[in-house]
């Protein structure tokens, strides 16, 4: 620990860091280069079960222009100072705003927050990294553009650039966000500015409407990566439909997940249900309505018997399938008939619409997410255990009933071993499911924190041993997940890294890439 800085980048002397900081100040001005403990405090807090000291930054830089970022990367190359890029910094449960490695300098792009264009006719937006969903939502409302957003549950305080670059998902028909990305501007480690796709051509007006451009498609290598700094980002927006019908289908037995998935898959693939459907376990929804302490006390995971009491008391299914229909009323009427017939066949499903469930707080926030309205109600999850500990365990599953049952049972078994609850949901893609489990624990309790770390490690080990890959992970486990995808992919990632960032200044460690 040095006196002048709360941390130093790995392998950088204090003298060299002094020089780098001085140069950063020249580019950004004194007020935009943060080095004191007080200024850096908000960058340190994470929800991960590791010491905050492991992820303490040495400084934070508040850049607002491409030219400033070009200046920053030049300085970083000169002094071999690594930077960790954040946009809104609200990747909660995945590492928040803290860098992957102690001593990295955070390049905070939150103030780079201009909405550059929203095209009503072609339904696209071009924004900078610091734009939040709330900001864009307000802009669209103010200008009466009739467009809907798709965003993750931390909606208002998160933003489309960071979420999409980390390949996050939302809950509308545009829920697989990277599918709807169209054109990026990227500052490379050598200071060059690349515009991907049609953006590379001077005077092109198709940057945000045609994704592919000419030659190899490059946008993908700037997601979940550290090959460049995305400074502008284009994506498609959904035209507001004339009608919207959210609904929930409840089931009473965990084994019913097989029937649910087998029923949904054809409806989802054919587009009858167009949105990213969520199959939420009772314990994912319970925190909106119930307190854990009212049902169980002491150590250990919550027993099934208590979960059934929660379901009964709070009108929840063990599985709660949230989906919606979008379109004209006529289209919705036709599709509703197909949906109710499909789910009605077995007699196991209880179907509720706004008519029956509008006042239900769980239904209300899910309906908001499915129509791109701002809500942070899902944060109720954090009250379940309390203490601010959370990691998203996010394996991918086939959209096949037998697979989802296997994944759920394995997750529940491993969590129970460490005294933790299964707060899980499946977000249904076309053919895949993001199995999302909030590993909740009390970070103020050292024993539970240790158990949470070991539990997460075992989840990754056991899932990868069975061929179940993780799509996204917090910064404490990125190397472990990268390892599960095998040496050839890691080598390719490394080769690209060396070619694009030979000094390794951009976010070393992101997705296990150095």
């Amino acid at each position: 620990m040095t006196r002048k800085y709360i941390a130093l980048p790995n392998g950088v002397s204090e003298k060299n860091f002094d020089a780098a900081i001085s140069d950063f100040r020249r580019v950004l001005g004194d007020a935009s280069v943060l080095t004191s403990a007080e200024q850096l405090a908000p960058y340190i807090k994470t929800m991960m079960p590791v010491p905050d000291a492991d992820h303490t930054p040495s400084a934070a830089l508040l850049a607002t222009t491409v030219e400033q970022i070009q200046g920053i990367v030049a300085i970083c190359n000169q002094y071999k100072v690594p930077i960790w890029m954040i946009s809104t910094g609200k990747n909660l449960g995945y590492g928040s705003a803290a860098p992957a490695e102690r001593g990295q300098v955070v390049l905070d792009l939150k103030r780079m927050n201009r909405i550059l264009e929203v095209d009503k006719d072609l339904a696209f937006a071009l924004v900078e990294p610091g734009v939040t969903y709330q900001q864009l939502y307000d802009y669209i409302k103010e200008h009466r553009l009739g467009l809907w957003l798709s965003m993750p549950a931390p909606s208002a305080i998160a933003g489309p650039v960071g979420n999409t670059l980390d390949r996050g998902v939302g809950y509308t028909p545009y829920g697989e966000h990277f599918l709807f990305a169209c054109g990026m501007e990227v500052v490379l480690a050598n200071g060059e500015v690349l515009r991907t796709g049609m953006g590379s051509m001077p005077n092109s007006n198709t940057w945000q409407v045609f994704k592919w451009g000419y030659g190899p498609y490059l946008d993908g290598i700037f997601t979940q990566s550290n090959y460049g700094i995305v400074t502008k980002f284009g994506f498609w927006l959904m035209p507001e439909p004339p009608a919207f019908k959210p609904f929930v289908i409840q089931y009473q037995h965990e084994e019913d997940i097989v029937e649910i998935v087998e029923t949904i898959r054809p409806l989802r693939i054919s587009g009858v249900i167009p949105n990213a459907v969520v199959i939420a376990h009772a314990l994912y929804e319970a925190p909106v309505k119930a307190k854990r302490s009212d049902y169980v006390s002491g150590p250990g995971s919550i027993p099934d018997e208590a979960v059934y009491r929660i379901m009964k008391d709070h009108k929840l299914g063990i599985w709660n399938v949230y989906a919606a229909l979008y379109g004209t009323q006529e289209q919705i009427d036709v599709n509703w008939k197909i949906v109710t017939q499909a789910f009605g066949q077995s007699g196991n499903a209880k179907i509720l619409t706004e008519q029956e469930a509008a006042d239900d707080p769980a239904f209300a926030y899910r309906a908001k997410l499915m129509r791109g309205e701002m809500t942070l109600t899902e944060f109720s999850l954090y009250n379940w255990r309390g203490g601010g500990g959370s990691m998203w365990f996010a394996p991918v599953s086939q959209a096949r009933g037998s697979e989802t049952l296997k994944q759920m049972a394995l997750t529940k078994q491993i969590l129970a071993k460490y005294g933790l609850d299964y707060s899980g949901e499946f977000i249904v893609g076309m053919r895949d499911m993001h199995h999302i489990v909030d590993v909740l624990y009390d970070k103020t309790d050292p024993e539970q924190t240790k158990a949470a770390y070991q539990c997460f490690d075992e989840l990754l080990t056991e899932f990868s041993a069975r061929g179940y890959g993780t799509y996204r992970v917090n910064t404490a486990f990125m190397d472990k997940v990268a390892e599960t995808y095998g040496p050839v992919q890691r080598n390719v990632h490394k080769t690209l890294k060396k070619a694009l960032d030979p000094n390794g200044i951009l976010a070393p460690g992101k997705s296990g890439i150095r």
Binding site: L34, E38, Q39, A41, P42, Y43, K45, M47, A60, L62, T64, T65, V66, E67, Q70, A74, N77, Q78, T88, G89, K90, L92, S96, A97, K110, R111, M112, N113, R114, I115, L116, E128, G130, Q134, Q135, D138, A156, I157, E185, N190, G191, E192, V193, R195, P202, M374, T375, L376, T377, F379, S380, Y382, N383, G386, G387, G388, K443, T444, P502, N503
Partner: protein
């Protein structure tokens, strides 16, 4: 080893050229609008705090005459599950307005 040094030199040279030339795209970049700025404490409360603190996710914080210094400390450091908010999200001046808004008595809202 030598090869590596040479590569780094070439890289540095490329950097120098790029900065000398400036950049085609950034030169085209028009400052057609300025970035986002908060209007007042009420707006910040409505568009950040209220989503939890008016939705039974976080505790009620209005009308409790919470000290402004306490509010500023919690916003900057977070508290258990509540995330910390950085100066880049809510600048010091706006945070002072927010703290003032939250700590006021009910009649003044």
């Amino acid at each position: 080893m030598k090869k590596r040094k040479l590569k780094n030199l070439q890289f540095g040279f490329a950097l120098a050229i790029i900065f000398m030339m400036s950049n085609v795209w950034s030169a085209q970049e028009e400052k057609n609008n300025t970035g986002f700025a908060w209007k007042d404490g009420a707006e910040i409360y409505t568009k950040i705090c209220a989503y939890c603190h008016e939705a039974q996710v976080g505790p009620q914080i209005l009308n409790r005459e919470l000290p402004a210094a306490y509010i500023r400390a919690v916003v900057r450091n977070g508290n258990r599950a509540m995330p910390a908010f950085r100066d880049s999200e809510i600048d010091d001046e706006s945070l002072a307005k927010l703290a003032d808004f939250i700590s006021k008595k009910e009649a003044q809202h």
